[in-house]
Amino acid sequence: MKNFDELFKNLKEEALNLAESTFKNYKDAAKSDTSNFLENMKENLKNWSSMVLEKKMSKEEASDLILNNAKELSRMMILKQSGIAKIELDKFSRNLVELIIKIIISAL
């Protein structure tokens, strides 16, 4: 295997090109997100690659870890954030109700 840093640099270049050609109208945001995402995964990718080379893990197992990390975990995090947004919305509704009761209803 080539030097990992060199491989990672190639991967990042190709991923940024892909982001640019896919999200023409939002290319700057897409490129920034892609770059952050890959940088966050870099350490894991490096570790998992060396484990495959040392035959501590099969290619199939490594591919599964990459897919899980890239897809399922990020989806779970997005769902949690949207759940938290709903909780905040409910909290706002309750506070609004309290405000209505405090100011309007009590003045009736």
Partner: protein, 144 residues
């Protein structure tokens, strides 16, 4: 006439207030759901450790575990306004997915998994469970 219109307006206002109180967008904290997901996280990570052995040796334990986790999933589905948590469970349990589904697929098809893979996958699955747990806890804090 003026008094009547004022009374109608007041009634409408009070109805609005009560409808706002009753229309939360997400389920409230549920103690049973919380205990279940915390217990199942531990149990799942323990079951995953068994993948260092041949799948056939532990097949019955895996099936029993899958039935148990399916019951927890059904419980989540029965809670009202709980779509987001159910979607999280869908991702975690989907047999064709890349979370627990792919782990059991690889274990069954390869007979056993490498220790490195088991440990790395356990970290990821643990984090997936944490997302569900953290959302439930957030519901708890907000209900106080």
């Amino acid at each position: 006439m003026k008094t009547l219109s004022k009374k109608i307006r007041n009634c409408a206002l009070i109805s609005l207030v009560f409808s706002l109180i009753g229309c939360g967008t997400i389920s409230h904290f549920d103690q049973t759901a919380y205990y279940q997901v915390v217990a199942l996280k531990t149990e799942t990570l323990n079951i995953m450790d068994l993948a260092k052995d041949n799948y056939s040796v532990h097949e019955m334990e895996v099936k029993t575990f899958q039935t148990k986790i399916q019951k927890a999933y059904e419980y989540e589905k029965s809670r009202s306004k709980n779509k987001i948590t159910v979607k999280q469970w869908d991702l975690l349990l989907n047999k064709d997915g890349n979370a627990l589904g792919s782990f059991f697929r690889i274990w069954e098809s390869n007979e056993k998994c490498s220790e490195t893979y088991i440990n790395e996958k356990k970290k990821l699955i643990g984090q997936c469970f944490d997302q569900i747990i953290e959302l439930e806890i957030k519901k708890q804090k907000n209900n106080l």
